[in-house]
């Protein structure tokens, strides 16, 4: 293929700029809110730029974003819940993933189908039974319940992806270790696991993010303010409407997004592969 002509270059750049505008638009509208110090509640007039540039909203949100709850508590809850859920999904799912990647046994096809199916289910499909079951166990309104719920959402996905990761490691590598006298478990621990680690981390990251940004289902498992997560608090701010300056809402949204955006840009290629269920080459 030849290099493109000047006019085509120009046309392409203009098109891309239009799409860029579309991408930026809602982000900019949020920024404009976040940096506006003049807002007392919702904005009442159209502005392209903030009326008074200020970062007080960010300061306020980093201290007490929602009613009297500390940012620290919210962040701590978010991290505890999301990290534990991802960790449980990974650790408990790992052996199953390995079995499906390496061995042939009766019922394997059916099992794979079941895992893929459960990975594709909406979180709501687990919410209904877990809500009832955890209420029966009388732990519904604890952080532990949230961990269990989010782990249940994430586990099928993690199993499927770890399986893909294990499968992509050549069997020969394992066989060499096996011939040197290492058992199944040792081979897994010292050979396969380290090799598959990057993919496992990314799979864990995805289920971490699912828990990190979940709010609607989480609200059903909360009664007291001390188990609220960041994502829930941002939704609560939307619900509470005009009680607070909307700049808080905008700045919390930005604060919550920045770490995730950085992770996505750094790991885009692997993330894409994992999110396509190991389907890209």
């Amino acid at each position: 293929m030849r290099k493109i002509s000047f006019f085509r270059q120009l046309g392409t750049q203009i098109l891309l700029a239009c799409i860029g505008l579309f991408v930026i638009l809602p982000i900019w509208a949020t920024m404009r809110l976040a940096f506006d110090g003049s807002l007392k509640s919702r904005p009442t007039e159209f502005r392209f730029f903030p009326k008074e540039w200020s970062t007080t909203a960010f300061m306020q949100v980093l201290e007490k974003p929602y009613q009297s709850v500390d940012f620290e508590v919210l962040l701590k809850n978010s991290l505890t819940v999301s990290l534990s859920a991802a960790f449980i999904a990974i650790i408990l799912g790992m052996s199953l993933a390995y079995a499906f990647a390496r061995f042939r046994f009766p019922g394997r096809q059916f099992g794979l189908f079941a895992i893929l199916l459960t990975a594709f289910l909406p979180p709501v499909a687990f919410m209904t039974p877990l809500y009832i079951l955890l209420t029966m166990l009388k732990i519904r309104t604890t952080l532990m319940a949230l961990v269990i719920v989010y782990a249940a959402f994430g586990m099928p996905f993690c199993i499927w992806n770890m399986r893909a990761a294990f499968q992509s490691i050549p069997k020969e590598v394992e066989e060499a270790a096996f011939l040197d006298g290492a058992g199944d478990f040792k081979t897994f621990l010292y050979i396969t696991l380290p090799l598959a680690m990057p993919s496992i981390v990314v799979a864990g990251l995805i289920s971490f993010l699912m828990a990190y940004s979940e709010f609607a289902i989480g609200w059903l498992f909360v009664e007291k303010a001390d188990t609220v997560t960041l994502a829930m608090s941002i939704y609560a701010m939307v619900q509470s409407g005009n009680a607070q300056p909307w700049s808080y809402l905008g700045s919390l949204a930005i604060i919550m997004s920045i770490p995730v955006v950085i992770l996505f840009i750094l790991f885009q290629r692997t993330l894409l592969e994992r999110l396509m269920f190991g389907e890209t080459a």
């Binding site: 290099k3 270059q9 392409t12 750049q13 098109l15 891309l16 799409i19 860029g20 579309f22 991408v23 809602p26 949020t30 919702r42 009442t44 007039e45 159209f46 408990l92 799912g93 052996s95 199953l96 993933a97 390995y98 390496r102 042939r104 096809q109 794979l112 189908f113 079941a114 895992i115 893929l116 459960t118 594709f120 909406p122 709501v124 499909a125 209904t128 039974p129 877990l130 809500y131 009832i132 209420t135 029966m136 782990a151 586990m155 099928p156 499968q167 199944d184 979940e214 709010f215 609607a216 939307v238 809402l249 949204a253 997004s257 996505f264 840009i265 894409l272 269920f277 389907e279 890209t280």
Partner: protein, 706 residues
């Protein structure tokens, strides 16, 4: 052998006719009086009166509701001859509520006559294809509108005869008599209800294409003119109301519809979006009157009809044209009444029949394949797998499988927020156990009641829940949404990937990183960002319109919340924004895998850009994109946060399930069992998705495991 086949076919046809009659007779008895029935009964009564008085000249002046031609009303008038004379049904405006007090001894014969026409349609279709006959015989919207005092039954029959006669004329040497028959029935169709004449467009198109293929266009025009004139003559002959003043009265009746569709209060108040005809064919009138129907298979008929379309086109093009013209017309016509879909339920049934046959055939083929490839498992390997399987399986069973099984158990009860105390203290177990062992009688459940003890309802809730989710439009919207949002995301994603892929493009990396942003922002925050723009009254757009007037770009979107056709645009914009980066990345990854040599070869052969894309890039790229398309499709089908945040709380199955479950929610709340049943329905639908995913991706086990 041949004789056996023929007798089997006759048996099948008789069976279909019997089923169809039972369904229709039942509907005649059970359907409550609906809109318009009083109007058409009054019209028929006027004719009965004239017939009794032998006042044949009076036919020229009688035609209550003159916007519709009189033929169907006249025939209903004859059907009332057996009934005692009753007072004329009072005149009421078209906006009036249904008149519940119509005399039963009049309703019954008029409805029965229509049901007989409906049965004849089924019988004709059954001769052509018994399965299609059965499909039409059980299609509940068809049953409803051919078993009421409506004008649908007769033209539905005559329009089918029009097509069948035309098809005969194609096959026979002596065309004229069949063509004449086709024209006569077209004329009768027009004299019953204008709308049904869309078949004429299908016939003309097919006829034109066929003649063109045979190089006989000259003959075609001659025949068409003969056909058209004959149809017109019959129409005129069968419409005595036109005789005294043809032009004026025809004009009035036709223009009435144009005015009605754009001005009538009931059309405006209904507020149906442009795609409503699509929605009707996924619903069933069982949502309004459950007792009148035995089963409600309309949704499945539509699904199979979709699958059978290609086959039907190959087999007999004119039916697909019929379906297509009818559909296009209804999409653009502003009036969206459900009875209009009866104009195409015949070709819909034919297509569904083919779809069922094809699905059955391919299922059988796959089943046979399965038998030939039996996998042998090494015992040793299976044993080695056990220590790995056990811990993982326990966790998977506890966290995933058990909740799903429990959910299924809950769905067989009527557990809700009022029976929560009983349910949590063992009520669910007692109900399910009692039901399974037959100790407890299973009771009827209703979606809006809250009994305070848990009862076993068995699987009986599933048909009701299904009718509920389809009747609410949720099932339709979910599928429509999935198709629309994924195709638009795919279109933009692939376009951007192609733009970025051009050799020598500057700033490529920069643009790509910028475009990843929406994908990287958590969905719920992205949705909030868009809510900040589109929120009614307080959003950026609304504020901008307030400051600068409605003529700014995209200003027309302001006020979307009160125009049902605009909703979907407002939801699609964030969905495209959020979804296209993923498609772009997938397409970019795919494009890199296409070898350069292919393009060198294409360039040497002198292919231009469009040809290169059409014949090289797209076919090579599509298989690489399919997994991404399905993953996005499933995401769209399960879309929740977008709709929840925009307060569209029955958009998808997931949103509906959540909001019905939520004890402190909206509308219907705390119906735990209904929510569970919706989730199980979601599982069943996703099984289809997973099946497709497995088939289309290399994840298919036989291939990757080596």
């Amino acid at each position: 052998m041949k004789r056996l086949q023929i007798s089997l076919r006759i048996l099948a046809i008789l069976f279909v006719i019997t089923i169809a009659w039972i369904a229709r007779a039942h509907a005649v008895d059970k359907l409550p009086i609906d809109y318009d029935e009083d109007d058409y009964l009054r019209a028929s009564q006027e004719y009965t009166h004239l017939i009794r008085a032998s006042n044949w000249l009076g036919f020229q002046e009688a035609n209550y509701r003159p916007e519709h031609p009189p033929l169907a009303k006249i025939l209903m008038g004859f059907s009332l001859l057996s009934a005692p004379e009753e007072e004329l049904t009072p005149d009421a405006p078209t906006t009036a509520q249904p008149n519940k007090n119509l005399p039963v001894d009049l309703v019954k014969p008029a409805r029965t006559l229509n049901a007989v026409f409906g049965l004849l349609t089924v019988a004709l279709l059954a001769f052509l294809d018994p399965l299609a006959g059965l499909t039409l015989g059980l299609h509940t919207f068809t049953i409803k509108y051919v078993s009421q005092i409506m004008l649908e039954a007769l033209p539905a029959l005559t329009s089918l005869v029009t097509v069948l006669a035309y098809l005969q004329s194609k096959k026979q040497k002596s065309k004229t008599s069949w063509l004449a028959a086709s024209a006569i029935f077209l004329g009768l169709t027009a004299a019953s209800k204008y709308l049904y004449c869309v078949v004429a467009f299908a016939i003309l198109t097919d006829w034109f294409l066929e003649s063109k293929r045979q190089n006989g266009l000259g003959n075609f025009y001659k025949q068409v003119i003969f056909w058209g004139i004959l149809a017109l003559v019959i129409f005129f002959a069968a419409d005595p109301y036109l005789w005294p003043n043809p032009i004026q009265r025809l004009k009035e009746s036709v223009f009435y519809h144009a005015a009605y569709s754009s001005g009538a209060a009931e059309v405006q108040n209904a507020g149906y979006p442009f795609w409503q005809p699509f929605a009707w064919i996924t619903m069933s009138p069982a949502m309004w009157s459950k007792d009148a129907f035995f089963i409600a298979p309309d949704f499945f008929i539509t699904v199979f009809a979709f699958l059978g379309l290609a086959g039907l086109w190959k087999k007999e093009r004119v039916y697909v044209l019929w379906l297509g013209f009818a559909f296009l017309f209804l999409l653009f016509w502003p009036t969206k009444w459900p009875q209009y879909i009866v104009i195409f339920t015949v070709p819909l049934s034919l297509s569904a029949s083919l779809g069922i046959q094809q699905t059955w055939q391919s299922a059988m083929d796959r089943f046979k394949d399965r038998k030939t490839h039996k996998v042998v498992f090494a015992k040793k390997e299976s044993r080695r797998a056990v220590p790995w399987l056990v811990p993982g399986l326990i966790a998977f069973a506890l966290l995933t499988v058990f909740p799903l099984l429990f959910q299924f158990a809950v769905s067989t009860t009527d557990f809700n927020s009022s029976s929560i105390r009983d349910g949590l203290n063992g009520g669910i177990w007692n109900a399910v156990w009692g039901g399974l062992t037959g100790q407890a009688e299973s009771t009827e459940m209703a979606i809006t009641t809250h009994p305070n003890r848990v009862n076993f309802v068995g699987l009986s809730s599933y048909p009701d829940v299904f009718i509920f989710v389809s009747g609410r439009g949720t099932l339709f919207f979910d599928i429509f949404w999935t198709i629309l949002s994924v195709s638009l995301q795919g279109f933009l994603g692939v376009s951007v990937a192609l733009l970025l892929w051009q050799r020598g493009l500057r700033l490529g990396k920069f643009w790509q990183t910028l475009f990843i942003l929406p994908w990287a922002i958590p969905e719920m925050i992205g949705v909030l960002m868009w809510l900040n723009i589109f929120s009614p009254e307080t959003g950026w757009l609304a504020l901008a319109v307030r400051s600068f007037g409605a003529n700014i770009p995209f200003g027309f979107l302001n006020g979307w919340e009160s125009t049902s056709s605009l909703w979907i645009v407002i939801f699609l914009i964030p969905a495209i924004w959020y979804g296209f980066p993923f498609m772009m990345l997938a397409a970019s990854a795919g494009l890199k895998m296409i070898p350069q040599e292919v393009y060198d070869a294409a360039m040497m052969d002198g292919a231009d850009t469009v040809q290169t894309f059409r014949y090289i890039t797209w076919p090579l790229l599509l298989p690489l994109l399919l997994p991404a398309i399905i993953v996005r499709g499933i995401f769209a089908f399960n879309q929740f946060y977008l709709f929840q945040t925009f307060y569209y709380r029955d958009a998808t199955l997931a949103t509906l399930s959540y909001n019905i479950f939520n004890p402190t929610g909206w509308d219907i709340t705390g119906q735990f069992a209904v929510s569970a049943a919706i989730n199980i329905i979601t599982v069943l639908i996703l099984i289809v998705f997973v099946y497709l995913f497995n088939r289309w991706s290399k994840a298919d086990e036989g291939v990757t495991y080596a």
